[in-house]
Symmetry: C2
Subunit: 187 residues, 2 copies
């Protein structure tokens, strides 16, 4: 199973402010820029490439808070799994869209693979850190919003070991966001 | 005075390991890559553009430890000033190359300007943070080594406020390092 991260951070590496807010993402950069056909900064193409998504409990709660209509649902047909040891079922407004999983992550991946899935989108700070420590992340697509936040919740926490990245690509968008693309090499 | 930062960090934003070591920088990326005329990743062109350099005490000590020959000196003809409230003179092996300054940074910049300097290279984690908080940094050139270190000394500490960046540029080098270029907008 290929596991990919597609996430935005500030230039100093935060995914959210200390209070969990991400409103700075909406105001970062130049919103007046002509983005042409890059308005989604590659998100739709990425989502088309995945067939399942694994998110943490925190991301699930943020998603539930958005209370999205079916038209607004961003994950297309991907099977969405939220990790939680305390929830037995998803919030009401996500009941038909999200499964809850509690247990071993390697077994989760093996199970998804045996059910025919081949590319997972891994989302949420703690979840990404857990997958990195289990050496399960293959690809990292990191979009830097053009802002130094100064404090917040870091994407990368303390990892068990340093992790080598390869096959770097970088693209600056007209709105001043920069996207970095790496594959992960576990030696 | 234009003040620029030109510094390398890990992808998770560290300039050094907890113990101050930067040997991971030498082994990061693909050392076998054909870098063509980009072997210095823009450093020489940058150094040619500056006429003075301001570094922290920590950077001074690292520099002194290298015990460079005149041929190895990386800063060309730039006037080099090290900030320290405790040292009265530089280490012996830097005696003719570095001045020590203790005092107000805005006055330092004003003084350098009055002496005809126009572009300063600001180096060292704490020094960069101080200059950012004083809204003195105009340009940030950030080179990401392709590695997640997991822990270390962060480039950006807790800033007084969030800082907006503009005019993003990005370039991936053949050795998998990525260079980001921003100008700083203090609104």
């Amino acid at each position: 199973m290929k596991c990919s991260v597609f996430i935005a951070t500030s230039v100093d590496g935060f995914i959210a402010k200390e209070d969990g807010s991400v409103d700075w993402l909406d105001t970062a950069g130049n919103p007046e820029a002509d983005m042409g056909d890059q308005a989604d900064m590659g998100f739709n193409k990425f989502i088309e490439s995945v067939d399942c998504m694994i998110m943490g409990r925190g991301t699930l709660e943020v998603l539930s808070g958005f209370d999205l209509t079916p038209e607004q649902w961003p994950y297309r047909d991907a099977r969405v799994i939220a990790l939680s040891n305390t929830l037995t079922q998803p919030p009401d407004n996500l009941k038909d869209r999200v499964e809850i999983y509690s247990g071993n992550l390697c077994e989760l991946i093996a199970g998804l693979e045996s059910e025919g899935h081949s590319h997972a989108y891994i989302d949420g700070g703690k979840t990404i850190q857990s997958f990195l420590d289990l050496r399960l992340i293959d690809e990292i697509i990191l979009t830097h919003a053009p802002v130094i936040l100064g404090e917040g919740i870091p994407l990368f926490g303390k990892t068990r070991q340093s992790i080598k990245l390869e096959n770097s690509k970088a693209e600056a968008f007209p709105n001043d966001f920069v996207q970095l693309h790496y594959t992960v090499s576990y030696q």
